[in-house]
Subunit: 165 residues, 2 copies
Amino acid sequence: MNNPCGQHQHPHRLIQQPLDELTDRLRRHSRRVTGPRQAILDVLRRHQTPMSNRDIHAALGQMCDLATVYRNLHTLEGMGLVRRFDLGDGAARFELVTPEDDGHHHHLVCTRCSLVVEIDDCFPPEFEQALAQRHRFARISHRLEFFGVCSRCEAGESRPGPVEA
Amino acid sequence: MNNPCGQHQHPHRLIQQPLDELTDRLRRHSRRVTGPRQAILDVLRRHQTPMSNRDIHAALGQMCDLATVYRNLHTLEGMGLVRRFDLGDGAARFELVTPEDDGHHHHLVCTRCSLVVEIDDCFPPEFEQALAQRHRFARISHRLEFFGVCSRCEAGESRPGPVEA
DNA sequence: ACATGATTGCAAACAGGTTGCAAGAACCAC
DNA sequence: GTGGTTCTTGCAACCTGTTTGCAATCATGT
Ligand SMILES: [Mn+2]
Ligand SMILES: [Mn+2]
Ligand SMILES: [Zn+2]
Ligand SMILES: [Zn+2]
């Protein structure tokens, strides 16, 4: 296994982008800088693990309707400002993405307490290329998530709700 | 990348288990051999790619209620007769599993026509082990699916419905 | 300040999936 | 075979995550 991003060794998502930079990106895409949008971006930039629409809406505290959160994340995803992840429970999760980085990475999820650990490693791109060639697929990509039981849960103290394996 | 199952080189899922063997497995788990169950198992054994509840129900043709399909797939999964897969669209898919094999494998999905290709390769288990140790997770496993555009779709003739990337 | 179109709140609609309940089988024992 | 016990099924209601139509509101360029 290697690190797919040769540019830098540190985890991308720990870099906290300034809010202004984010709203600038909105303007550049001729999107309006509204209260909900700033708030959503602000919530996302201070979280390092992916958040669900519900998570974000809760963190916003009655700032806007849940539908607005859904709509905005969809918009932000289309603009490449956030990336969508699927951690196996039915809900989509989102993480902020920096302009230099496409945000491709993986997660290790505790199936008992839903703790999420960020994983930067990935298998070498050659493998994916080989698959693509062998099956004549173009524009190939992948989704990879790990599941297990975190040390705290394994030790006994399960807490919140579980997730599927 | 290697083949995780050193036992045999051929794709597991191409082996078509006899229906009697499957119903025997039901009996051994003290489950009743009902019409819907036999029909579901029979549909699954003649498909090599994962099927959704809806797929199965459709293939059954008014043999039983959709809720019955859901309930049975859940039961069969609990018994280890089928394995659940998540191909990124909102619907769960299932494949028959042989007694010797846990059915762990991956898929390559066309994001345009939803064509599914079975993939037997996987990364070496050492990588997963290392992750587990590094983050002190127990009972670690993973889910990995590939996405791309199949040659036919790339050539132009898109057909049915798309899937997310 | 105004005009205009993007954005929002709200409620209704969807989609996959689950569940309570009464009727209908399997299966086991006679 | 007959009968009973227990598991299954059909049906409809329900649940959760997500989308959408529509009228009201607001951000932005002039
Ligand atoms: Mn992440
Ligand atoms: Mn498969
Ligand atoms: Zn945990
Ligand atoms: Zn295709």
